[in-house]
């Protein structure tokens, strides 16, 4: 890969992230609006399409304040720590048979490692603001986001076992073809339990509403981001939407065959559109949940994670490992 190649990939992913941010914010407002029987933005531009663009300009030109009592150094670097990993998490995404930033043998692990840095930045932002709301938001993020990381990682093990690889490209490739002549070989079908755990845990990881304890609007105003304004806040907000895209994209690659259409061969030019369409469908479902469910209490959320999700996903890992490893052995013994 030449220097130009790297620059091109960098620019492409950056543009994708920014477009995702603008589109997803508009989509969130419209979807939530419809779910709440409102109209959503409809004043700026046709159908309110220019609303987010205007918001970006507003954020850019707004004075970004820092409280005098805040810890300046940590306060300044927290937006970097939240935004940059979520941008880097675009590296392992596979958009088509030959379309990806790069091929990484351990791409899946890299994606999870990067998304798990977010709680650190959130905690840093919350603590350094020297404000009670921010600190509570930051601590909740540390307690809850990391807790839901365990089931998230455990639920991804099922597809990894089936594909026998951590390379997203190979995990996607392992899902081509059909079972029994008509069921697409998507891992969601045998791994439905793992997928449910993944969906719940990723909703918590991206701090979306049934689990948005770290920003809980009605109790903590905006939680950890309370003291942030202007573009610093803008980056945190953008990272949140970027993370939503990432978890949905990883879910698509792990459970829904990535860029592949079911039953028919996918032409290379269509693959990225299929991938984006599947990912956006996932995001829509997440927004749907966000618009329909009330927020959990902190203790409910923690006990749900530790007493339901983690035991269930641990048991599933054991059950599936035994099924997958012992099946050929048993089949051979029976046929003999």
């Amino acid at each position: 890969m030449s220097a130009l190649g790297i620059l091109g990939r960098f620019a492409a992913m950056l543009v994708l992230l920014l477009v995702n941010g603008v589109v997803l914010i508009y989509m969130l407002r419209k979807v939530l609006g419809r779910l709440h029987l409102r109209i959503g933005p409809n004043r700026v531009g046709p159908f309110g399409l220019l609303q987010t663009t205007n918001d970006v300009i507003k954020l850019l030109t707004k004075e970004d304040l820092r409280p005098d009592s805040a810890d300046a150094w940590l306060f300044n670097i927290a937006p970097y720590l939240i935004f940059v990993p979520s941008f880097m998490a675009y590296i392992p995404l596979v958009f088509g048979p030959t379309l990806a930033v790069t091929n990484l043998d351990t791409g899946l692990l890299l994606a999870f490692a990067l998304t798990s840095l977010v709680p650190l930045g959130v905690l840093m932002a919350g603590w350094s603001s020297n404000s009670k709301w921010s600190l509570i938001g930051g601590m909740r993020a540390a307690g809850l986001q990391i807790a839901y990381e365990v089931p998230l990682l455990l639920s991804a093990l099922g597809p990894v076992m089936m594909a026998g690889s951590l390379d997203p490209a190979r995990i996607v490739a392992a899902q081509s073809g059909v079972w029994l002549g008509f069921i697409p070989r998507w891992f969601v079908i045998p791994q439905i339990l793992a997928f449910v755990v993944y969906a719940i845990a990723s909703q918590a990881e991206t701090q979306q509403t049934p689990f948005d304890m770290s920003e809980a609007e009605s109790e903590l105003i905006t939680g950890f981001a309370n003291e942030y304004g202007g573009m610093r806040f803008g980056f945190m907000y953008l990272a949140e939407f970027s993370n939503t895209f990432i978890v949905s994209a990883i879910g698509t690659m792990l459970f829904f065959g990535g860029w592949q259409l079911p039953w028919v061969a996918t032409p290379a030019w269509l693959a990225p559109f299929v991938f984006i369409a599947k990912t956006y469908t996932g995001i829509f479902v997440m927004m749907w949940a966000r618009g329909s469910l009330p927020r959990f209490r902190v203790d409910q959320m923690l006990s749900f994670c530790w007493k339901v999700l983690i035991p269930v996903s641990l048991a599933w890992v054991v059950v599936w490992a035994c099924v997958q490893r012992l099946w050929p052995v048993v089949a051979m013994a029976v046929s003999r």
Binding site: L14, P67, M88, M139, G230, R232, W306
Partner: protein, 122 residues
Amino acid sequence: MEPTYAFDYSVIAWFLIGGVAFVGVTLGMSRLLQHRKPGRVKSEIYECGVEPVGPPWVQLKIGYYLYALLFVLFDVETAFLYPWAVTLDAMPLFVLAEMVVFLAILALGLAYAWKEGALQWR
């Protein structure tokens, strides 16, 4: 695959540098564009318009740290599980049995924490 291995990973470093640069440049641009007018009241922390009482950097619930400890335990365990899951089919049955024993011990640990009330938010 093999010859490109080292180079593939260098992309991560370039994305890191580029990402930091992008945030830095954008924040710098915003700094030039914005109208700055600092004030004493403006740089106070925000608590719904009420004057803040007492320092916010106080001792927090010990419960958070308990959960953090449990998290470290299970996260490290999951990191062990990944290489095992990748090579599951290629390894002898003994490896499967070994991991089941390992998970059983960890599940016992979780059950103990549960029994002792460490999973209860108080």
